[in-house]
């Protein structure tokens, strides 16, 4: 059996006892009109103002009084809202004889969208984690096996007096080194890569097109593709088509001048 916390059990017992007492008291209080008003207030409904209780009792009395009287009562209440002077008795008037009117109804959701829109979601475990695990394992296996068969280069000890020909930067900078053959070093080594990174950072602030659909972004996609291709071609030329003196060579004629 489930355990009920002590304080909850006590509260439930009290409530039950109170309900019992009310039922017992309510049996003889019903015929008398004045008694329940006094009895109900201390019984727990003390938060409801006495005049409101009175009004509801009056309405109930009228309803139980006869079927004919049911119809006029709401009409009178409605009229009381529109015409303050309407002699509708106690119905619709406040304690000082004021009428209360509804000014406006604010529909939920018109100011703030409180309900989250339902999206199609899946549990991260196992759906996402399983994929990540397999991807990581595949990558690890690939690197492991590749590393067994292919050794990282370790040439002879560094010697400042013996410049190898050609001297090449790491592969990801070979596009820049290729630019060096065309431009002044400041342009090729600083201005162009600097501008490239700067423009990449600014991309989301330049591209104001809100759509992410490829058919709406033809210009952005073409521009990026042209630049990526341009960069890839420069890197490939710098890597494989540059030999001694950084002169143009064909790798199938003169061999490869490339170390990773």
């Amino acid at each position: 059996m489930t355990e009920i916390p002590e304080h909850l059990r006590k509260r439930a017992e009290e409530a039950r006892a109170k309900a019992e007492a009310k039922k017992a008291g309510g049996g003889d209080a019903a015929p008398a009109a004045e008694a329940p008003a006094a009895a109900a207030a201390p019984a727990g409904d003390s938060r409801i103002p006495a005049h409101l209780l009175e009004r509801s009792r009056a309405a109930k009395d009228r309803q139980s009084g006869g079927g004919v009287a049911t119809a006029p009562a709401p009409v009178a209440a409605a009229a009381g809202a529109a015409v303050p002077a309407a002699p509708a008795g106690p119905v619709g008037t406040g304690p000082g004889g004021h009428t209360q009117r509804l000014l406006t109804v604010v529909k939920s959701g018109s100011i703030q969208d409180v309900k989250a829109k339902p999206t199609d979601k899946v549990h991260t475990w196992p759906h996402l984690l399983a994929i990540e695990f397999v991807a990581a394992l595949a990558m690890l296996t690939f690197i492991f096996i590749f590393s067994i068969f292919v050794n990282a280069p370790l040439l002879e000890l560094a010697n400042l007096n013996q410049t190898p020909n050609p001297s090449k930067a790491p592969w990801y900078f070979l596009g820049l080194q290729e630019l060096l053959t065309m431009f002044h070093p400041m342009v090729a080594g600083v201005t162009i890569p600097g501008m490239g990174i700067f423009l990449l950072i600014l991309a989301p602030y330049i591209d104001k097109n809100p759509s992410n659909k490829p058919e709406d972004r033809k210009f952005a996609i073409s521009l990026m593709t042209v630049h990526l291709m341009f960069w890839a071609v420069l890197t490939i030329i710098g890597s494989f088509f540059r030999g001694p003196g950084f002169n143009f060579v064909f790798p199938w004629n003169d061999g490869l001048f490339f170390e990773l």
């Binding site: 759906h127 410049t163 990026m224």
Partner: protein, 253 residues
């Protein structure tokens, strides 16, 4: 006979999983906890009650788990970073960043340290792969228009991460102290020397002198094993956090 072995095994498993130590390590909902059943509630707890909650929400958009959308490139970049950290720590045990020792330490690592050559190969190839996967991740994000609001700033962080990845790879390139390392770095730093106004100062600070030497080696070593990893981890934390705060990954297209 076989069944009694099985009974003993399952009894042992029950005992281990029922122990106080075991249930103190694995929180409620963990798949390793006693009596784990596959229920929606437990699937939520697996994430919510584990350290993974720092990385992933309990639920993700259905399209976000499609491999054809992300190609796992961001996750693989992160995995490669972890792999490089692990293999890099191993290499640090056998390497002294001094011009007189660096190369012979590398040589000894390859010839007389158990698995030394293998771990060095993994570090090297992993590094090249990380440069590639980070670069491809950037291209993927661009082609999906995933840098658009509200993800503009995370794209900026991403470009910084790409730059840091290149710098990490480049600083590591010098450490073997062989002809390849020395002259590749010479070419690279000569280019930086052409930075307008303070170019020669930048080059001097980076090289620890006017020419590459032992001072350069210790500088780049510290950059490579401590400073740049520290910086990149901070930016990665912001990057991953922003992915979640910006409503998960972008899309569907």
């Amino acid at each position: 006979m076989a069944t009694s072995m099985q009974d003993k095994m399952s009894e042992l498993t029950d005992k281990v999983q029922g122990s106080q130590a075991w249930s103190s390590i694995f929180r409620p909902g963990s798949i390793f906890r006693k009596g784990y059943t596959d229920s929606p509630r437990n699937r939520s707890y697996v994430i919510m009650n584990s350290v993974l909650y720092h990385l992933h929400p309990v639920k993700v958009k259905r399209h976000a788990v499609k491999v054809s959308y992300t190609l796992c490139l961001g996750g693989l970049s992160f995995f490669l970073f972890i792999l490089l950290t692990v293999t890099g720590i191993f290499l640090m045990f056998f390497y002294r960043p001094e011009a007189a020792q660096a190369w012979s330490d590398m040589y000894a690592l390859q010839t007389s340290v158990t698995f030394g050559l293998l771990v060095r190969n993994m570090h090297r190839w992993g590094a090249h792969l990380m440069v590639m996967s980070v670069f491809l991740h950037m291209a993927r994000v661009f082609y999906h228009g995933a840098y658009k609001p509200p993800r503009e700033f995370n794209w900026v962080i991403g470009v910084i991460l790409l730059t840091l990845t290149l710098l990490l790879s480049f600083t590591g390139y010098l450490l073997p102290w062989d002809q390849l390392a020395l002259w590749a770095v010479t070419v690279g730093t000569n280019m930086m020397g052409y930075t307008p106004v303070f170019g020669s100062e930048v080059r001097f600070v980076l090289l620890g002198g006017s020419e590459i030497g032992s001072d350069t080696l210790i500088r780049w070593y510290v950059l490579h094993v401590l400073m740049l990893p520290f910086v990149i981890v901070i930016f990665m934390a912001i990057h991953f956090w922003r992915v979640r705060k910006d409503g998960g990954i972008s899309g569907p297209l």
